[in-house]
C-alpha cells in the first residue's frame, strides 16, 4: 500500500504557504532566507511526488530537484554573504531598516 500523490501535494502546499508567510511577515533577514529555502523544498517535494505518480520511466522531476538544490546552494552562499556585509555596514539585519534604495 502506498500513499496517494494528493498527500504529498498537500504537504508541499502547506510547506510553501508557510514559506510565503514567513517571507512576508518576518523581518529578520536570516529567517526570510530560511523561508525561501522552505519554498524551494516544497517545490522539490512536488516535483518528486508528481514524477513518481506519473510512473514515467524518465526521472525528469527528480533531475530537476538536483538543479534546484544546486541553485539553492549557490543562492545560500551569495545570500549569506550579502547579509553578512549588510550587517557589517548597518549593524542590523532587520529588512525594514535596510531601505536606502527607495525612490
Amino acid at each position: 500500500m502506498s500513499l496517494g500523490v494528493e498527500y504529498y501535494l498537500v504537504l508541499s502546499a502547506l510547506l510553501f504557504t508557510i514559506g510565503v508567510l514567513g517571507v512576508l511577515i518576518r523581518r529578520n533577514a536570516i529567517i526570510i532566507f530560511m523561508c525561501i529555502e522552505l519554498m524551494l523544498n516544497a517545490a522539490n517535494l512536488a516535483f518528486v511526488a508528481i514524477n513518481r505518480s506519473l510512473g514515467s520511466s524518465d526521472p525528469d522531476g527528480q533531475l530537476f530537484v538536483f538543479f534546484v538544490m544546486a541553485v539553492a546552494a549557490a543562492e545560500v552562499a551569495i545570500g549569506l554573504a550579502i547579509i553578512v556585509s549588510v550587517f557589517k555596514h548597518k549593524k542590523t539585519i532587520n529588512v525594514d531598516e535596510v531601505n536606502s534604495l527607495k525612490g
Partner: protein, 643 residues
Amino acid sequence: MSKELIVILLISPLVGFLINGLFGKWLKGQEKLSGVLGSLAVFISLTCSIIAFIKVQGGTTLEGENGILYTWISGESFTFNIGFHVDALTTVMLLVITGVGFLIHIYSIGYMHGDSGYTRYFAYLNLFVFAMLILVLGNNYVMMFVGWEGVGLCSYLLIGFWYEKQSATDAGKKAFIVNRIGDFGFLLGMFTLFAAFGSLDFGSIFETAKELQPAADGMGFVETDNFKQIFGASTLVIATLLLFVGAIGKSAQIPLYVWLPDAMEGPTPVSALIHAATMVTAGVYMIARSAVLYNLAETGVVVAWIGVLTALFAAIIALKQNDIKRILAYSTVSQLGYMFVGVGVGAYASGIFHLVTHAFFKGLMFLTAGSVMHAMANELDIRKMGGLRNKLPITHATFLVGALAIAGAPFLSGFWSKDEILHSAWGGSKAIYIIGLITAFLTAFYMFRLIFVTFYGKSRVEPEVASHLHESPAVMWLPLAILAVPSALIGLLLGVGGHDSWFHHFTEDVFPKADKAPGNVILFMVISSIVGLAGIAYAWTRYKDRVPSDEPTNALQRLVANKFYIDEIYNTFIVQPIKNISHFLLWKVFDTLIVDGIVNAVAAIIRVIGGTLRRLQTGLVQVYIVSMVIGIVLFLAYYLFFA
C-alpha cells in the same frame, strides 16, 4: 597626350600640400625646405603644363572618353566621371596657373620669411593650386564645381591666414559668405543643365547644344532625345544666367564684388595669386568654357553689361583710395569687368587673352606692392610713401612696367588685349565701347596716381621706417623681374594682328566663330593709346608733386572715397535685417519659445509622472514581495477560473 601626364600635373601640388600640411610640425625651423618643397611641387606641374601645351599645339587634345580616369558616382540615370578635358583653353589656363603660381611660390619664400605659419602657408598655397587645376582640368561641371569650391575654401583660409587679426578673419568670412551666394547660383545652373540635358559632361552637353535647331515659332529650341525644355523656351537663358550668378560671385562683379577689396587682408602674394591672377578669373573661364550655351541663349549681352558697369564702377572707386593694395584690388575688379565684356560680346578668345595678360601684369603689380610693404614695414598708405624710386629701383621699374601694361601704353601686353576687347565691344554695342573707353582713361589715371604718389615726389616716409628702407632680397625681386618680361612682351608675342593673331588661331577650335568686329583695327588702337596716355598725362599734372588730400572736399568726392557706401547699404538692408530676423524671430520666438518649449514640456510631463510613481518604491523588500505574491495570485486565479 597621355592621362598620366595630367595626373602627375594634378597630383603634384596635392602631394606638396600633404607633406607641408601633415608634416609641417617636423618642418618647423627648416622653413627653407618647406618653401622649396611647395615651389617644387608647382614646378613639376609647370613642366607638365608646358608639355601639354606643346602637345595641344601639335593637335592632340584630351577630350570625351579618352580623358575619363574613373567613374566617381554612378546611378540609374546619371554617371559622373573623374575625367580631364584638355584643349587649347585648358592649357592656356594651366600655364597661367602654374607659371604665375610658381613665381609667386618662389617670391613667398622670401616674403613669408620668419612667419610662424610658414608651413601652413605653403600647404594652403599648394592646396589652392591643386583645386584650381581641378577647376580647369575637369571634363564636366561637377568637377568644375569641386574645384570652384576648393579654391573658395583656400581663398577663405588664406585671407584669414593671420587669424589673430580680427579684420583678417572678418574679411575671410565675408569672402566666403558672399561667394556662397554665387555658388548657390552655380549649383542651380548645374541642376537646370542636368534636367535639360540629362548630363553634365562638357562633351555631351556641347555636342547636343550644337545640334539644336530653333523652334518654328522662334521661341526656344526643338526638343531632342537629349534636350528637354524644362522651363519652356527660356530654359537655356535661365541656365546660363544662373551660371553667371556663380561667375559674379567668384569673379567679384556687381553686386557681389564687395568681398574682393577686403580680401586684401591676406598675405600679399596670396592677393597676387588668388585675388588677381587665377581664382577670380574662374568665372571668365567658366563662361568661355560654356561659350556654346551662351551663344545659343544670347545672354552674353547681360554678361557684357554687368562687366562694363563693374569696370567703370570699380575704376571710379579706385580713384580715391589711398591703400596701395585696395587700389590694386579695385583695379582687379575693374579688369575682370573688361574680361566679362570680352566673353559677353562673343569675343571669347579676346576675353581669355586679357585674362592671361592681366594675370601677368596684375600678379606683377601685387608682388611689387608686397615688395614696397616689405621695405616699408607693412605700411599700406600711399600718403606715407613718396620718392621711393631711388630706394627701391627694381620695385619701381617693375611696377612701372605693370602699370604701363594695364594703362594700355602702346605695345605692352594690356594694350593688345584691352584693345581687342574694346574693338569687339564696338561690334556689340557702341555704349559698352564708350563706357569701356572711359574706364580705360580712369584706369591709366588711378594707376599713375598710385605711381606718382608712391615712387615720385618728396619722401614722406616716417624717419624710423626710412632708416631701414631697402630693396627686397633676390628671391623676391627675381620673380618680379621675370614677371615683368611677359607683362611687357606677351602681347607682342601672342596678340599682334587682333582677330588674326596667334592666340586667336590657337584657340579657334575651342570657341564658336565670332563675327569680325567692324572698323579699322589701327584706328581703334590709336584711340585706345591716346586715351591711355591722356590718363597718364592727367595723373602727372595732378599728382606729380602733390599728396592726395586726407579730407574729401565735396559731396561727390566723399561719396567716391567712401566707396559709394555700398558696404554700408548692404549692411543696413541685408546684413542687419537678417541679424534682426535671426535674433528676434528665429532665436527669441522660434528657438526659445517653440523649440525650447517643446523640450521643456516633455521634461515637465516626465517629471510629474516620475514624481508620482517613485512613491511605489519604498525600499522595503517585503512590500515588493507582497505585490509580487498578489500578482501571482491574480494570474493564477485568472487562468484557473476565467481562461
